[in-house]
């Protein structure tokens, strides 16, 4: 299978027009010492049916959430993706276009980005959103970079209850950005505002997650206040599907709101591609990384959209740019916009309520079966940690043998939690599914 279009006759005619005798001659300027004279050691070409069979075989060896009852979350969730998302994303005019450098050719993508930016600002209570970042982890690094430039400070404070992958990415970026990372431990599943206030002294920003990695609801307004009082920017890492029931970070004093967009519109896809969102108060506009779309008029006064505020960006500012990002996650962000439009404000609230109701039900049923919740006095959203009485990794393996993936073994990231399982319950699960989870855990785990 190849996707080439030239016939032998085309090739001869084109070589004649160029004035060379062979295709080989087109490469004569490559020094012989760096020419590759071998044949690439790749497996033979496959036809489309053969390729399909091969890929089906590979896909068939993955235990996906359609064949395994899954309570796995920890940053990526099995939410329902409506059919309209697939339909819109398969429009070739969106799928096969690139960054809208030429706005007259790209009003469709530009307008969807403007609508996406509006949706993110509405969800988060912020003034400006970029067109997307790579994922929920890289936008955290971006936020720290903004904070460094906004405050002139280099210390960033991360709540330990922030998703470990997010913290790890911030730490990887930190040396290049000239940042020092400090972490504040959780106390019984949430972050203590006083402890955070102490750490926030001289800090550029404080990053916390709401709901946090354990699914617990942080005292977010108190955390934001602790940061702000210390002169640090408060940065909330939030879940878009929670924002129909949970308050918007912009309404409790945060300077920046970021998050992983996957919950809104993206399939799990073994971790990507997804999109990260990054929104801020207007005062940080000039420090924002990435593409931003703005409204303007054309030569006839008609409304249109363009990439704007580009003097922040690498193709103009080069080494003085706010970021090196170019290709972002526009198509995934479009999926988010379509999903949020499909939901509407009422649907968003219902998804949140349904997740909460099912998760609460799961907590109660597990408690009734004798399991101890890791943080029993903390309110949660769609995810919670439960003690299973033995190594949680072993419990996962044993439960999967019964066709149930019971969640994430928290001990991979947190000391002293080797027996804890992080259980996520989305609107796709049912009370019967929860009953099955409890039944299997009762069999393979050890209630207290």
């Amino acid at each position: 299978m190849s996707f080439l279009s030239l016939t032998d006759a085309d090739r001869d005619e084109m070589l004649a027009a160029i004035g060379v005798a062979s295709v080989e001659e087109l490469f004569r300027e490559i020094p012989e010492g760096v020419r590759f004279r071998g044949r690439l050691d790749l497996e033979p070409a496959l036809s489309e049916p053969e390729l399909t069979a091969h890929m089906e075989q590979l896909a068939g060896r993955n235990a996906h959430t359609g064949i395994e009852l899954s309570f796995l979350g920890a940053g990526v969730y099995d939410h329902y993706v409506p059919a309209v998302v697939d339909a819109v994303l398969q429009r070739g005019e969106f799928l096969t276009a690139y960054t809208p450098y030429q706005p007259e050719m790209s009003q469709g993508v530009l307008q969807t980005i403007f609508e996406y930016q509006t949706a993110i600002c509405e969800l988060t209570g912020m003034d400006i959103s970029n067109a997307s970042g790579y994922d929920g982890a890289t936008v955290a690094a971006d936020a720290c970079f903004i904070a460094k430039h906004a405050t002139g400070r280099s210390k960033v404070v991360l709540a330990e209850a922030v998703n470990p992958q997010v913290r790890q990415v911030v730490k990887t970026y930190a040396p290049g950005f000239g940042l020092d990372v400090v972490e504040v431990p959780h106390r019984g599943g949430t972050t203590d505002p006083d402890e955070l206030a102490a750490a926030a002294r001289d800090a550029a920003c404080v990053l916390f997650q709401q709901p946090n990695f354990f699914g617990c609801l942080e005292p977010a307004p108190d955390l934001a206040a602790a940061a702000t009082e210390a002169g640090a920017l408060a940065v909330a890492h939030v879940d878009p599907v929670s924002l129909g029931v949970l308050e918007a970070p912009g309404n409790y004093g945060c300077a920046l709101a970021i998050g992983e967009g996957q919950s809104a519109g993206n399939y799990q896809s073994f971790g990507g591609p997804h999109y990260g969102f990054l929104a801020a108060r207007a005062e940080h506009t000039r420090r924002m990384p990435g593409r931003i779309v703005g409204e303007t008029t054309d030569a006839a006064g008609k409304r249109g959209y363009v990439l704007t505020l580009q003097t922040r960006e690498q193709h103009i500012r080069r080494e003085k740019a706010t970021s090196n990002i170019t290709t972002n996650q526009t198509l995934l962000a479009l999926a988010g916009l379509v999903h949020l439009t499909w939901l509407g404000p009422q649907g968003l609230r219902e998804v949140g309520e349904t997740c909460m109701a099912l998760a609460q039900h799961a907590k109660e049923q597990l408690a009734a079966a004798g399991f101890e919740l890791a943080f029993p006095d903390k309110a949660t959203f769609k995810e919670f940690a439960v003690r299973v009485g033995r190594n949680a990794g072993e419990v996962v393996a044993a439960a999967r043998a019964h066709g149930v993936h019971p969640g994430y073994a928290v001990g991979r990231d947190y000391e002293g939690m080797e027996d804890a399982l992080l259980v996520a319950v989305t609107e796709k699960r049912t009370a019967a599914d929860v009953a099955r989870l409890v039944e299997v855990l009762a069999e393979v785990a050890l209630p207290a």
Binding site: M1, S2, F3, L6, T7, M14, L15, I18, L26, G33, R35, L40, L42, E43, T52, L58, A59, R61, N62, H64, S70, G75, V84, D86, R91, E93, F94, T96, Y98, E104, Q107, V109, T112, E115, Q117, T118, A137, T172, A220, A248, Q268, F270, G272, T285, G294, E295, T296, D298, Q314, R318, T327, N328, Q329, T330, L331, T341, G344, T354, A379, R400
Partner: protein, 509 residues
């Protein structure tokens, strides 16, 4: 066109179509009590998301799609972006439930197919690059660049040379991402000039490389579409200084199976999967930016790597010298599915892909070089750069005017005003998937436009004439900074000067 012969009417925003009480979604409602959210944490006012029916939702986005132009719509020779055909089978494959609905934290024995695919892609990319090891993790080319520079720092820190080696050398033809990545990695930038043949100026280079140099970032073929004839000398200079070499793989589509970065002496390469290996560009993403490295740099790669033990595949996190993680999980897996599928379609004949890309570009160059200025009269690789300098001087028609006029011919403009060293640049990359007829249509259009510049330059200056909007005012957009819909508080369109202005910023690449 609207019934009165005007251009299409303005498209409403989805928020302007909203009616309270309408909705598209239907959701399960379980007969379970909803717990209360603590009052201090509960949402006080709902977000103003659109309230529309499904029919109107579909119509809205379909209408917007018709106001956009993709490869599926027509020829898209946007230089440095490699806008090749995106095979539809790949969209079907990425939607297989075993890929689409697989959680990234699934146990390894429940993800053997995904891990095998990632491992196979690592092996393929190492072979294509002529290097030893691959990390698939970076999310795009620019993140691959940054990751590569982090590897430089980790490598030199490991040797106790990080404080000594603070400089990265970059030619003046480089993409803006290169200097931006240098700054983000905490390095200092040293620029090097281009010589009269479009190669790196080796004399300038010699004076700039020494003990203080961490490495080079080079795109080869360059953004001029030219293979650097001095590459072996460049390698000697950097090797002699104990420095490393980074290959910006933006133009890898020119050299697959023809010349491998590893054979040119590069230590780190990023591969733009959305360019060379046909991940659809999605209106601006997603991309994929895996990096391939020498064995000397392998210990520093991000975690996890995918390794094969016997006939089992697993993630390896046990890399004590790893720089850490640059994004979540193992990378943009859906991109890997499409790129792996694309490469398996070609097999060892991947070389023919690059040959056709180079042939197509040289054919366009041969047909156009007498009508436009050609800054470097050489054979090109997969793309080339023309200049509208003479058109501008003699007829007052700019590269931007040429670009806008191409739209009226149903063709997406090339990249313009880049690379920065060429005034009035038009950077043209046809890719290998275009048939000769499309190439000829493009040449005919470009020649017709060059003629129009002489006889009716205003037609160009006022172009486009056939798009849903006329030329847009970018200065006004930046001045107004209206970056979201403000509902009842939305400012009037006329509240800033509407004088059309031209901003000669790079458009593309």
């Amino acid at each position: 066109m609207a019934p009165n012969g005007e251009r299409e009417p303005m498209t409403k925003l989805i928020y302007e179509r909203s009616q309270p009480g309408r909705r598209a979604s239907s959701l399960p409602r379980h007969d379970l009590p909803v717990p209360d959210v603590p009052a201090a944490l509960a949402r006080a006012t709902p977000p103003r998301l659109p309230e529309v029916s499904e029919a109107e939702l579909v119509r809205h986005f379909t209408e917007l799609s018709t106001r956009n132009f993709g490869i599926d719509t027509g020829f898209y020779p946007l230089g440095s972006c490699t806008m090749k055909h995106n095979p539809r089978v790949n969209e079907r494959l990425v939607g297989l439930p075993g890929f689409r609905d697989l959680h990234p934290l699934q146990e390894e024995d429940g993800a053997q197919g995904a891990l095998e695919l990632e491992w196979r892609l690592q092996e393929i990319l190492a072979e294509v690059c002529g290097l030893d090891a691959v990390s698939l993790q970076p999310a795009a080319g620019s993140q691959g660049e940054l990751t590569g520079l982090m590897l430089f720092r980790a490598y030199f820190a490991d040797r106790g040379e990080d404080e000594q080696r603070r400089e990265i050398v970059i030619p003046d033809t480089a993409h803006g991402t290169n200097p931006a990545s240098v700054a983000m990695a905490g390095y200092q930038l040293v620029g090097v000039k281009t010589d009269a043949r479009g190669n790196v100026d080796v004399d300038d280079l010699r004076g700039k490389v020494g003990r203080q140099t961490a490495g080079l970032m080079l795109t080869n073929p360059s953004t001029l579409g030219l293979f650097d004839e001095n590459i072996e000398e460049i390698e000697r200079i950097f090797r002699g200084a104990g420095a490393l070499m980074y290959y910006d793989g933006a133009n890898l589509n020119a050299v697959c199976g023809i010349s491998r970065p590893g054979d040119m002496g590069f230590d780190v390469v990023h591969i733009n999967l959305h360019k060379t290996f046909s991940q659809p560009h999605g209106g601006g993403g997603p991309g994929g930016g895996p990096i391939a490295v020498t064995s000397a740099l392998e210990p520093f790669l991000p975690v996890p790597a995918v390794v094969k033990d016997g006939d089992r595949f697993r993630f390896d996190y046990d890399r004590p010298k790893s720089i850490g993680k640059v994004r979540g999980f193992s990378g943009p897996f859906g991109v890997f599915v499409r790129s792996y599928a694309y490469i398996r379609g070609y097999g060892p004949a991947l070389r023919e892909m690059s040959e056709a890309a180079v042939l197509n570009a040289n054919y366009l160059l041969a047909r156009l070089k007498h009508a436009y200025d050609l800054p470097f009269d050489r054979l090109c690789m997969h793309e080339f750069v023309l200049s509208a300098r003479t058109l501008k001087r003699e007829h007052g028609v700019s590269a931007l005017d040429v670009a806008k006029r191409l739209m009226d011919f149903g063709i997406h403009p090339p990249t313009v005003y880049f690379p920065l060293i060429v005034p009035e640049a038009l950077m043209i990359e046809p890719t290998e998937t275009e048939p000769k007829e499309r190439l000829d249509e493009f040449c005919d259009a470009m020649l017709a436009i060059a003629h129009e510049a002489e006889v009716s330059p205003d037609v160009l200056r006022e172009a486009p004439h056939s798009r849903p909007v006329r030329r847009l005012d970018e200065v006004k957009a930046a001045k107004r900074a209206v970056v979201r819909y403000l509902f009842d508080d939305h400012p009037e369109l006329a509240d800033a000067d509407a004088a059309p202005a031209v901003v000669e910023a790079p458009k593309g690449a």
